[in-house]
């Protein structure tokens, strides 16, 4: 967990399932932790950032609803996979009531690595999409002010910290291309387009001066063309 590896917490009384999950994560991509009581599971969830919780519905039968509610309150993003022996109307109603959408019936379908990875990635995706608006606003307020030497001349550009951009050497625009992607690129494009127009103008001016080019001469020297229809 300290090495930023995904961790799976298991609250199951089925040794076969424990072995199966252990085997599926045997390439050490995930850490698997087994607990035997709901309280221990809650304690672990408070202490560590787990990527997946696998709960045995039959083990936590009496306190299943409370356990799920507590887990959702403590870590609302934590995906929960419920394993169940036989699904009945009652158990299904309880799962729906607890807002649990991921479950497997042990006798009907095996737990696959793809299923585990899908659930783990769910949390990662949720985390990646989360930007706290307050934090963003604060970052925008406290963000580093950058004075631009080209493009946005004389303007202070505030770079929010959320972009994690290293702003050292920003004023030296030509050496900071990698550091300040967006703003710098924009300013460079403006600079380049200005230069191109100037260069183009100068080129044609030079061309006309050199050859003493005039439209009258050009017209006089052109052969007469008669059109007969």
């Amino acid at each position: 967990m300290r090495e930023n590896r995904d961790a799976i917490l298991m609250l199951t009384g089925d040794p076969q399932l424990n072995e199966q999950v252990q085997r599926l994560s045997s390439d050490h991509e995930q850490l698997v932790l087994h607990v035997d009581s709901s309280l221990r599971a809650i304690l672990k969830i408070i202490s560590y950032d787990f990527s997946l919780l696998i709960v045995d519905f039959d083990l936590a039968n009496l306190c299943f609803d409370d356990l799920i509610r507590i887990v959702k309150k403590l870590d609302s993003d934590l995906p929960i996979l419920v394993t169940i022996d036989n699904i009945t109307k009652e158990s299904l109603a309880r799962l729906i009531e607890c807002d649990v959408v991921d479950y497997i019936v042990r006798s009907a379908e095996p737990l696959t690595r793809e299923r585990i990875m899908e659930l783990i990635n769910k949390k990662k995706l949720k985390k990646a999409l989360q930007i706290d608006p307050e934090e963003y606003a604060k970052d925008m307020k406290d963000g580093t002010k950058v004075k631009m030497s080209t493009g946005h001349k004389g303007k202070d550009v505030v770079m929010p910290k959320v972009f994690n951009v290293d702003l050292q050497g920003v004023n030296n625009v030509h050496t900071s291309e990698k550091l300040l992607n967006g703003v710098h690129k924009e300013s460079c494009v403006e600079e380049e387009s200005d230069n191109f127009e100037k260069k183009e103008e100068q080129f044609f001016k030079d061309l006309f001066d050199e050859r003493d080019f005039s439209f009258k001469e050009t017209a006089a020297s052109m052969p007469e063309v008669s059109h007969s229809y």
Binding site: S38, L39, R40, L43, S47, C63, I70, K73, L74
Partner: protein, 136 residues
């Protein structure tokens, strides 16, 4: 819980203790909620504002220390009072390490509970004062 009202959660299955403590607390005009499971008590503490929690140490679930640890991790400023049959040095050390506020021996005495309530009121007042203090 109504604003201003003080609410105590009792976690026990002992009927006589339940009735006795409930009567004492009601004498001190404190609202009482009785929970039969530790998970329910955690849920209650996570959702509502609780004055203090009274835990029966001789509760059938033998993981009271785990429960206290969870409660202290989720609500560090929640006073937890443990009530138990007898106390030993080891038990006392365990309870103190887990972070309890006070302990009571069965059967609980009215005056003793009264003193604990006063202490907890002062504790909450201190907390409120700290929160209201303006840092200049």
């Amino acid at each position: 819980m109504a604003r201003g009202a003080e609410c105590v959660v009792i976690v026990t299955e002992d009927e006589s203790l339940k009735n006795r403590v409930k009567a004492i607390l009601e004498y001190y005009k404190i609202e009482v909620i009785i929970e039969n499971s530790s998970l329910k008590s955690i849920l209650k503490i996570l959702t509502d504002e609780i004055f203090f929690l009274l835990l029966d140490f001789d509760y059938p679930e033998n993981s009271i220390i785990d429960l206290i640890t969870i409660l202290k991790l989720t609500r560090p400023r929640l006073p937890i009072v443990v009530i138990l049959e007898r106390i030993s040095r080891d038990r006392f050390k365990k309870l103190i390490d887990a972070g309890i506020f006070h302990y009571l021996l069965k059967p609980a005495q009215t005056e003793e509970i009264g003193r604990i309530i006063e202490a907890i009121r002062r504790f909450h007042e201190k907390d409120a004062n700290i929160l209201n203090t303006k840092i200049v």
